[in-house]
Symmetry: C2
Subunit: 229 residues, 2 copies
DNA sequence: TGAATAGTGTCTTTGAGACAATATTGC
DNA sequence: GCAATATTGTCTCAAAGACACTATTCA
């Protein structure tokens, strides 16, 4: 029925780290410092370490931390990419994760870490282009019915800022009234005492933050054939 | 940054094969014929075969075919389960898939293949309970906004039958008019010339089938914060 | 005061559910 | 015709979008 032995398969995790920069989704890429594809820009990734990692999520978080210094963002499994041709070293499995962070927490002092707009990706090694495209699709879909984009904002943000983030991710304008009604319904934000203004010659906007119970999770709206009943 | 060597990790695929039986979702389980957990009921699964499999999907389809005889159902990647504790043999990765089939195509002549309702699962080895629960959750969620449940029907079905399938999967009644409006909108069904009646003393229902372009894919309804614009 | 953007009220449109009328079959 | 279920029409209700009005700040 099946072979008793299994030849060793290359087992890795890759992380699609997304952020918003100049109003557009960007993916964080690293210049590789080893073969294969030494010197090429690629997703942060690495082998699973059986001694350290208690799960694939742990491995992804560790790889992200080791390669970019980023800790504990929103990090979720995307899909697994596997096959004989995606890595020149042989049959390989990559468990892909995606993460969202505000651009402000990205390290700026490491030239090997760069950001590229997801709409104009450079050529990428392995099947990393498919992985990025898949992550972007997932983020767009999930943003339609959840609070996912808040993880692209910093800790404090105004509703107009958050709406701009949603619009950048979804690539289309959103009705302001509906947007605020929906956020009200999701009940995951709380106002902070103290408004911001900076923009200047206009009414300042209320600052909000995620309520504690949503700091690391999502709020999802009901939807479907029959959300009622 | 990372170890140059990677010890061999156990790489498998598992398939959550779901069907509808007596109005309830059931998962197909196999009596294991080898260690570990010899004799226990478990998901059909097996090693990736580097020589044969061109992808993880291929491996899942092969495993399903070899273990149950079922070919080419709706088969989609679910998620990957990995860690040091889920398999007594060591750090393991299982790329899980789920499949939907009409109960009529299940083999009935093999006693090692059984069906269990997903609401009353027997105890399962490995983390197969988590995998099944995850698949059931995915199917329920996806059924809310897509045509997924049609793959639980045979090739020909009436709208009342299909509605009953949706209701069984979602676990709640659906408004008949809305249901038909939604199917109309999805535009994936076509009537077959010829009605069925069997039930007897009442008006017969029109038989439908999937339109060719949807035979192996899904139709998904728009949804979200701003489906318009 | 005027420009600019934040925040809110409300009318309109759209889509889903309720309900019921009509259609068709076997007895 | 009667029972039973399929199919369709239409009214009602709720959510989403459009639009505009008010609020607040700085120059």
């Amino acid at each position: 029925m099946q072979k008793a032995r299994h030849e060793s398969i290359i087992c890795t995790v890759d992380v699609v780290l997304l952020t918003l920069h100049e109003g557009a989704l960007h993916v964080v890429l690293l210049k590789r410092d080893r073969e294969p594809f030494n010197g090429a820009l690629a997703l942060p990734g690495g082998y699973i370490h059986q001694q350290e990692d208690q799960s694939a999520w742990d491995a992804a978080a560790r790889v992200l931390r080791e390669k970019t210094g980023i800790t504990a963002p929103y990090l979720e499994q995307l899909a697994t990419f596997a096959g004989p041709g995606r890595d020149p070293r042989g049959w390989s499995v990559s468990i892909a994760y995606y993460a969202l962070v505000p651009v402000s927490i990205l390290p700026t002092d490491r030239p090997q870490i760069v950001m590229r707009p997801v709409e104009r990706l450079p050529s990428l090694p392995f099947d990393h282009k498919s992985i990025v495209d898949s992550a972007v699709g997932r983020v767009r879909t999930k943003s339609q019915y959840s609070s996912l984009p808040v993880y692209l904002c910093g800790e404090r943000f105004t509703l107009p800022q958050l709406q701009a983030v949603y619009e950048a991710v979804l690539g289309e304008p959103i009705n302001k009234v509906s947007f605020r009604r929906k956020l009200e319904e999701l009940a995951m934000l709380e106002p902070i005492e103290g408004a911001m203004e900076s923009g200047g010659a206009h009414r300042p906007a209320q600052l909000y933050r995620l309520r504690k119970e949503y700091r690391r999770s999502l709020s999802v709206v009901d939807r479907g054939l029959n959300p009622r009943s």
